[in-house]
């Protein structure tokens, strides 16, 4: 009866024991493989990895590939371009001035920024925000405006109301006197032409002159009212009117 194990039997037994205990050691070996290839592993660890590689073909292949890559990679540090770039680089840099200073770069940047279509809108926005920050809320000045304006409005109403009432009374009085004068005359008009002449005389005597007087008076009152209004809104007395004078 055969009692001794051959090499493959030993290997199978080792794997079986590892499978039931620590598991596959390939992970640990691969963690140290780079240092193994670089020869920076401590002697004891190196012998452990050596021992693993002797029995694990996959890790041994990986170690060979790793060593090959480690040998080849430094050759890629200097690759030849398809055509030399020296000429193109020299052409691109020979007439190029040194990098401009901070002031020039800032000026160029401002130029680029100002050329953008939305620049004016952005500046207006920023200035508005700045004005609000520096001067405060402009609407605050009008908070008690109604209280301050009320007496002025009452004064204007009083100033304008009185002349209007007087004008109205004068108008009514004129109309009454005209009516009283016209009625007996109109009843005695014999023809249309005489009637028209009579009407004209009445107009000249009783309507035209008083109406002109009233218009002049109203004009004077309106002037006073306007100057009062200007005082309220704070406009200078001599400020030209928006409309041209007729």
């Amino acid at each position: 009866m055969k009692t001794e194990l051959d090499a493959s039997g030993h290997e199978a037994l080792t794997r079986a024991i590892l499978a039931r205990t620590s598991g596959n050691a390939c992970g640990s070996a691969r963690e140290r493989l780079c240092d193994f290839v670089d020869d920076t592993l401590a002697p004891f660890d190196r012998s452990l990895v050596d021992g693993h590689l002797a029995h694990c073909a996959a890790c041994a292949d990986l170690a060979v590939a790793l060593a090959e890559a480690t040998t080849v990679l430094p050759a890629f540090a200097t690759l030849a371009p398809p055509t030399s770039v020296v000429f193109d680089v020299l052409r691109a840099t020979s007439r190029r001035p040194p990098e401009p200073g901070l002031g020039e770069r800032l000026s160029a940047w401002l130029g680029r920024v100002a050329a953008r279509p939305r620049f004016s809108l952005e500046v207006a926005y920023v200035l508005t925000v700045l004005l609000l920050v520096v001067l405060g809320n402009p609407v605050a000045a009008f908070r008690d405006a109604s209280v301050r304006v009320e007496p002025r409005v009452a004064a204007v109403a009083s100033a304008v109301g009185r002349p209007i009432a007087k004008a109205r009374a004068a108008g009514e009085e004129t109309l009454t006197s005209v009516g009283r004068a016209i009625k007996p005359k109109a009843e005695a008009v014999p023809t249309f032409a005489q009637g028209r002449l009579l009407l004209w005389q009445f107009w000249q005597t009783y309507v035209d002159a008083p109406v002109r007087t009233v218009v002049l008076q109203v004009r004077e009152w309106a002037g006073r009212a306007v100057s009062e209004l200007r005082t309220i809104v704070g406009a200078p007395a001599g400020e030209p009117s928006a409309r041209p004078a007729r």
């Binding site: 493989l33 292949d61 590939a65 540090a77 371009p81 030399s84 691109a92």
Partner: protein, 184 residues
């Protein structure tokens, strides 16, 4: 030619020094650009842009030993900017240009050169099939040879993160190489 002297001359505006600088770093910058570009032509354009940016900022170049990591960072940032713009304006058609990269080995022995070129193409294809993060950390650390600290400064992540990300990326690359080899 000593790098600090060359950099000083470039800062002073010596055109000849600038030409020497471009010649010295052309392949390196092109290599960085190729890590981000989809095609050699795009990498070439990126390379030009990187040099123009370097020229414009030559008064503010980093001094001495930190110049190369600084230049790598400038190049990377410019490439990422272009990548973002490109994402906003995707190309009209997909570019499949992996075969167009010049990966020929300079080996004098033709047989050895052929073998080396085949190996390079295999690794290159595997590298370009990786995700952006993995490819970038390999580009900076393994290809450009920056230290962990320098890579951490470029990527603005802790050193531990660079270390773990680099190990993961290299293993991913090795697996991809095996997969490419199995396919071919």
């Amino acid at each position: 030619m000593e790098l600090p002297t060359l950099l000083d001359r470039c800062r002073q505006g010596d055109d000849l020094a600038w030409e020497a600088f471009v010649r010295q770093f052309e392949r390196r910058v092109y290599s960085i650009a190729s890590g981000y570009a989809a095609s050699p032509d795009e990498a070439r354009d990126l390379t030009q842009d990187i040099f123009v940016r370097l020229f414009e900022t030559r008064g503010r170049w980093a001094e001495g030993e930190v110049f190369v990591p600084w230049m790598v960072r400038v190049a990377r940032n410019l490439c990422l900017d272009q990548l973002r713009r490109k994402k906003a304006r995707p190309p009209a058609e997909d570019i499949q240009a992996d075969e167009m990269w010049d990966l020929a080995s300079p080996d004098a022995d033709p047989e050895a050169a052929l073998e080396a070129t085949g190996r390079r193409q295999l690794v290159w294809r595997a590298l370009r099939s990786l995700g952006h993060l993995s490819r970038e950390v390999i580009q900076l650390k393994e290809i450009q040879g920056l230290s962990l600290e320098e890579v951490a400064a470029v990527l603005r992540v802790p050193i531990g993160t660079v270390k773990s990300r680099s190990n993961r990326a290299r293993l991913e690359l090795a697996e991809q190489i095996l997969a490419e080899r199995a396919e071919s």
